[in-house]
Amino acid sequence: MTDLQEFRAETRAWLEENCPKEMRQPMSEADVCWGGRNWVFQSKAQEQWLERMAARGWTVPTWPEAYGGAGLSGDEDRVLKEEMARISARPPLQSFGIWMLGPALLEFGSEEQKRHYLPQIARGEVRWCQGYSEPGAGSDLASLQTKGVDCGEYFEVSGQKIWTSYADKADWIFCLVRTEPEAAKHKGISFLLFDMTSPGVSTSPIQLISGSSPFCETFFDSVKVPKDQIVGERGTGWTIAKYLLTHEREMIGATDSALFGSDDLVEVARDALGVDDQGRLDDPILRGRIADFLIDEIAFDAELARAKSWIRAGKQLGAESATLKYTGTELNKRRQELIMAAGGLAALEWDFADAAGDEKASLWLRSKGNSIEGGTSEVMLSILSKAALELG
């Protein structure tokens, strides 16, 4: 038996023993465990599951043990995921700390910062949010205006962020702030961490066209941020942000694509429209549009699988991540348009004031943001034309 086979056997046994029955069921948005100071566990099982996994370092399996992880190799991590999937085990913890801040600290943080912040993330003790976008700085993120004035011991941060997911629920924020007003646009930004309960921080949720949302506007009015809460050097925040944006892009591009295509779309179409006497969807022209979409989607699934295999092999995706982001989000918009068309008049029934977010109309409207958040499709195309094609 190879080491990996051994690892698989052990993992399987441990999961079998430790994963509560309730945590082996399909999960909706409402079942996600985000952790944090004010977290109220949905159930005893949810709490146990987090504790047991965190104790083993398996909330962040590839992070070093010193920082709350388990130091697993890429192969071991894959085995763990496969074994969890085998029993439909839910992820014990999700958070922007795991997805975003963690990788940034591992790459750019000081040893003290890693030892201080990472274990809190791994154990789900502190919930983080991300303060990047501003009302005047969308695609041109580097033009952000939130300023951090050097006051000796601390920066005094003032300004406004937008699109801060769960800012109203988060404990801490990692935030891009202009600390060097004299420097060139990209060189004056620092990457700061601070407590959302600091005096001067306030948040306000944003209502989307698809209904309520986790997004907030976040306001900073002379918030004091101690200087040891900067990640990397002063003025290097843009480098860290770019690193994370690429990371985020891959995640967004990869969202919502089931291998070998849209069961949801196919099901909606069959249920809503029925089939004719030849067993074909009884809206012959819409049927053609669906076929056209499925071809593009299955091809994209192949591309996504290839990208994942590259990542497993330790390859940097580079420009390919912009391709995935662009293609994946544009496809999802098409999928949702087709679902609405297939749903027809019935899909128009929808209550904005009471939208739960999983109705056809909510998903359709929400999908329109996919090609804006995490870098617009236009920005992706510009990146590709420069990075991959060397045009302009």
Binding site: G138, S139, P284, T376
Partner: protein, 366 residues
């Protein structure tokens, strides 16, 4: 009948002025937040301006200005998402009642005293010929059984024109939704307008409820659908133009990377392409409205092409508007979502591109 261009300008300007004041986008937003539908008092004012009698003759209290006039009003409504039962009651039901001699209810809807809705659809896609609802003869009257879906302005309607199969073919019935056996379920809809699902369980109709039967019924229904499609298309042209104009204004105003978005050629070309689509659609809709007023043989074809094309163009216009506005376009605080929802509902209602494209090919023997 054919409007002079000064008459057109006058109708358009009056509609624009009135709707700017009484039914701008904010009015729909407020209506939505207080439960949807429309403002009945405001409808009365619209009726006072003659809008609900544009397709009725003077004996029925109408002003007989034709489909082109109705299209002009609808386009201005589309620009402002103005809510009223104009299309259902003032256009489609008016056409049915005119064709079938229902002068008393025609007069009531023309004056704004009553709302008459059309109950046509039974499936999730528009298939006006797929009718499972039946009306069986019973004494001097009929017994109505069946169900209709997504009856536009059906929740607040005083009467509903229902399509049902009789032993003599298609029948059109004017049904009081207050009758025993009628169940109405008001729907919350994506465009925040009035709509209802209706069920009829052994509803007893007296003989007077029958508006028309057989070929006459089919002709009246076809006429209403034809005008309805063309006027709905004009409303979508209004949506498209408004979205394109707001977006172009935003492109000039919004700066990224130090320059206005309007300087980015990729956006310029997309905006220009959208402009050409809107121009083409505008021409197709105008041709359909005119063909209807002229009683041309092409009216059926053109009204279907107009509906299909206007749906595609409005969908493109709202998608481009949202994408070019970026994140802020996703917020409910901006109006783009409201236009997007309207465009979707309007594209679906009375048949989409697939529906009319299929008809077109069958006509050609394909």
């Amino acid at each position: 009948m054919r409007l002079m261009s000064e008459e057109q300008t006058m109708i358009r300007d009056m509609a624009a002025g009135f709707l700017d004041e009484k039914a701008p986008v904010d009015a729909l937003r407020k209506q939505r937040d207080s439960g949807g539908g429309y403002d009945r008092a405001l409808m009365g004012e619209m009726a006072d301006m003659g809008w609900f009698g544009m397709l009725l003759d003077e004996e029925s209290g109408g002003v007989d200005m034709g489909a082109e006039a109705a299209g002009l009003v609808a386009e201005e409504m589309g620009r402002r998402l103005s809510a009223s039962p104009f299309l259902s009651s003032g256009v489609m039901s008016a056409v049915v009642l005119r064709a079938t001699g229902g002068a008393d209810w025609a007069a009531k809807l023309a004056s704004g005293e009553a709302v008459v809705a059309m109950a046509i659809d039974e499936r999730v896609k528009h298939r006006p010929d797929a009718i499972a609802t039946t009306a069986e003869k019973s004494g001097n009257g009929f017994v109505l059984n069946g169900a209709k879906r997504f009856v536009s302005d059906g929740a607040g309607a005083d009467r509903v024109i229902v399509t049902a199969m009789t032993e003599d073919g298609l029948g059109l019935f004017l049904v009081d939704p207050g009758l025993e056996g009628v169940q109405s379920r008001a729907l919350k809809t994506v465009d925040s307008r009035d709509a209802a699902d209706l069920r009829f369980d052994n509803v007893q109709l007296d003989g007077a409820a029958l508006l028309a039967m057989g070929d006459a019924a089919q002709e009246a229904l076809d006429g209403a659908l034809r005008v309805g499609r063309a006027v709905a298309s004009a409303e979508m042209v209004g949506v498209s133009k408004e979205m394109a104009e707001r977006t172009n204004a935003y492109l000039k105003e919004r700066k990224q990377f130090g320059i206005a978005l309007s300087n980015f050629q990729a956006l310029q070309h997309r905006a220009a392409d959208l402009y050409t689509q809107i121009q083409t659609t505008d021409a197709a809709v105008a041709a359909a409205l005119r063909a209807i007023d002229e009683g041309s043989d092409d009216a059926e074809l053109l009204s279907r092409v107009a509906k299909a094309k206007a749906g595609k163009t409005a969908s493109l216009a709202v998608r481009e508007a949202l994408q070019m506005h970026g994140g802020i376009g996703m917020t409910d605080a901006l109006d783009i979502g409201l236009f997007m929802k309207k465009a979707r509902a309007c594209a679906e209602y009375l048949g989409d591109g697939e529906c009319h494209g299929d008809w077109l090919l069958r006509q050609r023997g394909l």
